[in-house]
């Protein structure tokens, strides 16, 4: 999708929010940023609110039950043999619905060579997401074990002109696919601890980097992702994440692991820094490196 189309999509997203402002209650608190710092999580690599790699049950932005919030984000991941630039926008409506868009630009570097595409081959993937909070409230439900639970999907489309080449080499079934997930996130204020566990049904190979489905399997299988975060201050959280992935191609996909720190300067800007271990990618080993992300919004 070219830049103009992408821009108009983002603007359509934003325009979609404004009618809600017009129909807001008399006190007009729609853009009041009613929620507490960090309660919207940060934006992950798929554009949804959560940690760095895990999608949480949070709704992005600081809109409380009567308001809306939105964010734009930019993320850069640089591991040993490839890098990823990721940017997008997301909207949170009345602490109930989240809509998100992320564009992932992969610079395949040496992995491109391994994929038979040529070194430094670039391609990208668009991720369209929607999430609905079903039950629970992250902050208020401190007197029960009930987590905040949300369900959602992320539809991923690769724009890859040489897909046919890779498909033949690796037996990839499709250049697009949809992940479905259930996320349960709980904040234990008494321990200053946040815990997320998410189950994702996906066919994505390397998060979509290698398409969807493969010779070993083209079925949806449940995968697990989760985060643990410790609140150091109102603005600062440190933690770790884990994410499993399917093995549809037979190229040994490793689980992802990262340790992260996220800092909310205020309700407008937050930054996340992580050390990520993505394991082996397309037979290239030990893809570890740095993850940096900035999120701005309200």
């Amino acid at each position: 999708m070219d830049s103009l189309k992408r821009l108009s999509l983002i603007l359509t997203f934003a325009a979609g929010v404004l009618p809600f402002a017009a129909t807001a209650n008399a006190e007009n608190r729609v853009f009041d940023q009613g929620r507490l710092l960090l309660t919207g999580g940060v934006t992950n690599v798929e554009g949804a609110s959560g940690g760095g790699v895990a999608t949480w049950a949070t709704i992005t932005g600081y809109g409380d039950n009567d308001g809306v919030g939105a964010n734009v984000h930019g993320t850069y991941v640089n591991v040993k043999d490839y890098s990823l630039r990721d940017y997008g926008a997301s909207v949170g409506l009345y602490n109930r619905v989240e809509l998100s868009y992320a564009r992932q630009d992969f610079d395949t570097q040496n992995i491109g060579a391994a994929l038979g595409l040529g070194k430094n081959y670039n391609f990208n993937q668009d991720v369209y997401g929607a999430k609905v909070r079903l039950i629970g409230d992250l902050v208020y439900d401190q007197d029960s074990l009930l987590p905040q639970v949300a369900v959602g999907f992320q539809h991923k489309e690769e724009s890859d002109k040489l897909h046919a080449v890779r498909s033949h080499a690796f037996g990839i079934r499709s250049a697009s696919g949809t992940d479905y997930y259930v996320a349960a996130t709980k904040l234990f204020l008494d321990q200053s601890l946040l815990v997320d566990t998410t189950v994702r049904f996906t066919k994505a190979n390397q998060n979509g980097l290698l398409g969807f489905g493969g010779p070993k399997s083209n079925d949806y299988k449940p995968q697990f992702e989760g985060s643990v975060g410790y609140l150091l201050t109102k603005k600062w959280v440190i933690g770790a994440e884990y994410r499993t992935k399917p093995d549809n191609i037979g190229l040994k996909e490793n689980d992802w692991l990262d340790v992260f720190t996220a800092y909310a300067f205020n309700k407008t800007i937050s930054a996340t820094l992580a050390y990520v271990d993505l394991g082996d990618i397309a037979t290239i080993k030990d893809q570890r490196g740095v993850y940096v992300s900035v999120q701005a919004g309200f």
Partner: protein, 161 residues
């Protein structure tokens, strides 16, 4: 010897454990028993100490009252409040919840906030003001969160809109 033993027995007889007599008199005279405080108190008094005990909680609430009555988001909510009584009750409630010696003599959260049509934004604004007051007093963040863990579920009673 006999007189000493009798005296000791008499002393033992009148040394009824204070909690029993207080509870008894509470039931008899209707003295407060903190069951309207909105949550069970914390075990031990570590958090009460982290709040610098009675003096610290007084200072926090002095600062808190100033904040909420000048916070543009919620100051109008306090237009008709008896601020002296409110501060007294807040100190009682926080002292009680953090494991301090006070008992809470106010109304339950639902009754106290009935008819105010409060929204979650109001509740969160107040929580943020409380955080700032606790920060100013130098209460450790972990201890602050332990109090917030007690207060957060009260949202279900307090927010009606």
């Amino acid at each position: 010897m006999k007189r000493i033993l009798m005296f000791t027995a008499l002393l033992a007889a009148v040394s009824v454990p204070p909690t029993v007599s207080m509870a008894q008199s509470a039931m008899d005279t209707g003295m407060p028993s903190s069951n309207t405080a909105g949550a069970a108190p914390m075990a031990g008094d570590d958090v009460y100490k982290a709040f610098h005990e009675e003096a610290g909680i007084q200072r926090i609430m002095d600062d808190f009252i100033v904040r909420v009555t000048t916070d543009p988001r919620i100051k109008d909510r306090f237009a008709n409040a008896n601020l002296v009584r409110l501060k007294l009750l807040l100190v009682q409630q926080v002292s009680y919840l953090t494991g301090g010696p006070d008992t809470y003599s106010g109304r339950d959260m639902k009754t106290a906030h009935a008819g105010m049509n409060l929204q979650s934004g109001d509740f969160n604004a107040l929580a943020e003001d409380l955080q700032l007051s606790m920060d100013k007093e130098g209460v450790a963040f972990r201890a602050q969160n332990k109090l917030l863990a007690k207060l957060a579920p009260m949202e279900h009673q307090i927010v009606t809109k």
